[in-house]
């Protein structure tokens, strides 16, 4: 893997089983420093604290449909924050609609993945983001 194994990754999903599946896949790919958040509203202060503490997250993997703060709203907050304009952000969604892709791209998403997906597909998307 060209990327460092210990880049700081935040996995955001309101479904605990999906967080675990994504975490397992990231582990299979070779990543070791993975933290979980159970929705966008929980993730945002974690991202802010990471900056304050001088150990910012280096990659966000987020579900789209979540209560309180959706993946799209989390992405918009991230992109509106000075210093996070280029933070790699992978959006995951169950809905394979072209309209969603366009909305996410306009909001500055780094890449987009539709469920179901395998670890190999996840790796491909990550490689494209970090190439």
């Amino acid at each position: 893997m060209a990327l460092k194994a210990d880049i700081k990754i935040l996995v955001v999903d309101d479904m605990s089983t999906m967080r675990k599946i994504i975490k397992n896949m990231l582990g299979q790919i070779g990543f070791t420093n993975i933290t979980e958040a159970d929705d966008g509203a929980t993730a945002w202060p974690m991202i802010e604290n990471g900056i304050k503490e001088g150990a910012p997250y280096e990659f966000i993997v987020s579900d789209w449909n979540m209560p309180q703060l959706s993946g799209l709203d989390l992405l918009k907050k991230v992109r509106a924050t000075p210093g996070l304009e280029k933070l790699p952000f992978l959006m995951i969604t169950a809905e394979a609609e072209q309209g969603n892709v366009v909305i996410a791209v306009k909001a500055g998403v780094s890449n987009f993945i539709v469920k179901p997906f395998s670890a190999a597909v996840l790796k491909e998307k990550i490689d494209k983001i970090f190439k």
């Binding site: 169950a94 394979a96 469920k115 179901p116 997906f117």
Partner: protein, 170 residues
Amino acid sequence: MTGDPSNFIDFSRPFVDACKNIFTTMVGSPIEAQKPQIKSDSNSRGDITAVIGLSGELDKGGVKTPYRAMLVVAFPYDTYFKVASAMLSETYTTYHPDIHDLGGEIVNMIMGNAKRDLKTLGYTSNMAIPSLIEGKNHSIKYPTGTTVVLIPFTSQFGPLYMELCYSINE
């Protein structure tokens, strides 16, 4: 089921295809659909039942008709534990809070995938939030006046059962 039965056959295909796709990609095990049958009772064929609603409009030649649908996937305990073990890379042999939302995630993915194909058939659709029923001998509350089609599946982890209700206001 109400309305043109051919609508229902077209309508059900994306759900069957999506379910097969999800099992192949995320469970690592292909599943086989068996012959569909009309279900005449409300008893779940499984011990863990995931349910999600769908509503929207069917656009046929510019005429838009509202429809409602419900997708159910029911798992016997043993199938659910084996599917959870395969998806989460841990061994589960009893019901556990860690795997509670897995059924909901599966129906969510099926519905999300099916939506794309339904759109090509003229259906716009809005997904509801999935829910889960767990326990031996539970029943399912179907929308009034709908017929339920049961599609059994076989897999290396055991049987599972998809059910679809569909009603269109023609």
